[in-house]
């Protein structure tokens, strides 16, 4: 363990551990469920993860700045529904639709961001409030109508089945690629881009960040706008995937995204985390979620209970690892 810690950064170790756990979980389910390791299962997990991944990336950026966004589930609902409604009246093409969905998300995210960054209201309070507020807006807006597949343009309906390319029997869907491209962009930005590194700076030490001349209010505001935008993207993917949208769309996604982020090794105290970790975390949470449904021995109602336990374990492991790392550094120095 000591040798490992001396040669690897704890973040790298954390991501490696996660990859191993994900592999073990998959091996476990393969041994438990007949015909598990099939293209169908992989496709199902991939399309389901494609909805959660954008939200999880947004949540990760917000968590990095020592905040939390509980409103993302309601945001996915709003963008999925409103975009679907707009498409029913005006069948726009993919790019304009993407722009609309992102704008709706960004607008709601900006509302959160203003209150948190400039109003100095703790993010947990703001987003607990907007979680209810956005959902109510959706309920009122919808007037109990449902968006149905036949009112949507053809390209949206066909999107979930559209395959970009195939690897052997595995067909890679466009939606999955869109989510992965978003992950790649944010991964590169957070790694190399000066402006994006500010998220880490504000999260790891807000006072030091301000002393260093970083406008921390603007950074936190931006984090919430990005989180909203990515929730908008997830809303669009959700709309395409399910076609039929009711007012409960995206209900509970905030908890899933937080689980993915925390399991993915983004420190809940802010300041650290990688998008690669978030991708693995999302896959792990989603694999467990989708596999439990098919596992005969355990009732699918265990999903939530397991999610809670998973979050707790991940946070505990991180806390212990951070502590032992600090102690080890002291010993070495």
């Amino acid at each position: 363990m000591n040798v490992l810690l001396r040669n690897f950064h704890p973040q790298t170790l954390r991501v490696l551990t996660l990859a191993v756990v994900l592999l073990l979980v998959i091996v476990f389910f393969v041994s438990q469920i007949d015909n598990y390791f099939s293209p169908r299962t992989l496709n199902r997990i991939a399309s389901s993860a494609a909805v959660i991944l954008p939200i999880a990336i947004g949540q990760a950026i917000v968590v990095m700045t020592r905040n939390i966004d509980l409103s993302v589930g309601s945001l996915v609902g709003i963008t999925a529904y409103v975009t679907g409604d707009i498409l029913a009246y005006a069948p726009f093409g993919p790019f304009l639709t993407l722009f609309i969905a992102l704008s709706i998300g960004a607008l709601c995210g900006a509302f959160n961001g203003v209150l948190v960054a400039y109003g100095r209201v703790p993010s947990i309070i703001v987003t607990l409030g907007t979680l209810a507020l956005f959902r109510t807006f959706l309920v009122e807006y919808s007037e109990a109508r449902t968006i149905t597949t036949d009112s949507l343009p053809k390209w949206v309906v066909e999107l979930p089945q559209t395959t970009l390319f195939s690897v052997g029997v595995l067909e890679v869907r466009v939606m999955v690629i869109v989510a992965l491209v978003a992950a790649l962009i944010f991964s590169l930005a957070l790694w190399k881009l000066r402006a994006a590194r500010k998220f880490y700076a504000v999260g790891s030490n807000p006072d030091a960040a301000i002393m260093a001349g970083i406008n921390s209010e603007r950074v936190v505001f931006t984090a919430f706008v990005l989180s909203g935008m990515l929730a908008g993207l997830a809303g669009l993917i959700f709309l395409a995937r399910f076609g039929n949208i009711t007012v409960v769309a995206g209900l509970g996604f905030e908890l899933k995204s937080i689980a993915a982020v925390v399991v993915g090794g983004v420190n809940i105290f802010g300041g650290s985390g990688t998008i690669l970790g978030v991708v693995l975390g999302t896959l792990l949470v989603d694999t467990i979620d989708n596999s439990l449904i098919r596992w005969a021995i355990v009732s699918e109602f265990w999903r939530e209970a397991l999610l809670g336990i998973l979050i707790m374990t991940a946070v505990a492991v991180d806390t212990f690892m951070a502590r032992s790392y600090v102690q080890l550094r002291k010993l070495v120095a």
């Binding site: 209150l115 109003g119 507020l133 109602f301 809670g308 505990a316 806390t319």
Partner: protein, 315 residues
């Protein structure tokens, strides 16, 4: 006196006066005893938990898992009744369960040292998950008559048992908070846990006591909920934490800890109950009511923040 007039509490009294006046003008029967009892009874479980939540938030922590503990305790009660055990035993077991769930939260928060926000967010999901595991998609009814009567009928006059539990909790906890050494410790730790620690206060002990109490009280509230509705389901009390935290914060308790009073929380409870009743009288649906509560929650932190900043600019 002038200090009191400028305080948050006096603002609350003013708001309460306005909402009551509006309600009376909407419905003359608003002030009748029966309507007032109904008003309390509809939200009694939430306001019972708001009392202990006050102490927890003043202590600088938060407990998001209360509604899930309520749900899990109610579902456990239903399951025990379902297998044919006596209700009295089930009540004891559920209260014990609540204390245990609170202790689990306390363990992670004080011994492992993970922030209560994260711990109770995880237990919000986890405890609710176990409630769903217990009942899946069934609903359980068929509680003994005396148990249902306990939740619905008046114990003295038209006031049910749960009302007395609430009154007792308000009285005890406000004495504990404002008149005892333990209460001072709660405030001191809320101001700065670090300073309190170096001053020799047993921070972990105080926090643990509060979270364990919160678990027990939430379980009790869950039982009242089961008795009042005479049935339980896996999603019992889902989302109640929003209302509970709103009541506490609107009562002038600082989300950053160290500030607040039980008087303020009782006033804000009355305001929230009045508002909901008034909106119901105006035929405003439950969803909009929730949105109004959400706006109140944000405003109750935003407005003091803004006032604080204006004050610091002017001096």
């Amino acid at each position: 006196m002038s200090k009191f007039l400028r305080s948050w509490e006096s603002l609350l009294i003013l708001i309460l006066g306005i909402t009551t006046a509006v309600n009376i003008s909407l419905a003359p029967e608003f002030l009748t005893l029966q309507n007032q009892v109904n008003l309390f009874q509809l939200s009694i479980e939430k306001i019972i938990i708001a009392t202990i939540m006050t102490l927890i938030i003043i202590n600088g922590e938060i407990d998001l898992s209360v509604a899930s503990i309520m749900g899990l305790s109610a579902c456990t009660f239903g399951t025990i009744i379902d297998v044919g055990m006596p209700a009295s035993l089930a009540i004891l077991l559920c209260l014990g369960l609540g204390i245990m769930l609170g202790a689990i939260n306390a363990f992670w928060i004080t011994i492992i040292g993970i922030p209560s926000l994260v711990v109770t967010l995880a237990s919000l999901i986890g405890y609710r998950g176990f409630a769903r595991v217990l009942l899946e998609d069934r609903g359980i009814t068929g509680f003994p008559d005396w148990f249902i009567a306990l939740g619905r009928d008046g114990l003295i006059g038209s006031l049910p048992l749960s009302f007395f539990a609430f009154a007792l909790l308000v009285a005890t906890l406000s004495i504990v908070l404002h008149r005892t050494g333990f209460g001072r410790e709660v405030f001191t730790i809320g101001n700065s846990a670090e300073v309190a620690h170096y001053s020799g206060l047993r921070v972990a002990r105080v926090k643990s006591i509060l979270f364990i109490l919160s678990g027990g009280i939430s379980a009790m509230a869950g039982l009242f909920y089961a008795a009042r509705l005479a049935s339980v389901r896996g999603d019992a009390a889902f989302g109640f934490e929003l209302d509970i935290i709103t009541m506490v914060l609107l009562g002038g308790v600082s989300i950053f800890g160290g500030k607040g009073s039980m008087l303020g929380v009782v006033l804000s409870i009355l305001i929230v109950l009045n508002l909901r009743n008034g909106m119901a009288l105006m035929n405003i649906t439950g969803h909009i009511q929730t949105a109004v509560i959400g706006i109140l929650l944000i405003a109750s932190v935003l407005i003091p923040n803004m006032l604080e900043r204006l004050r610091s600019v002017s001096t």
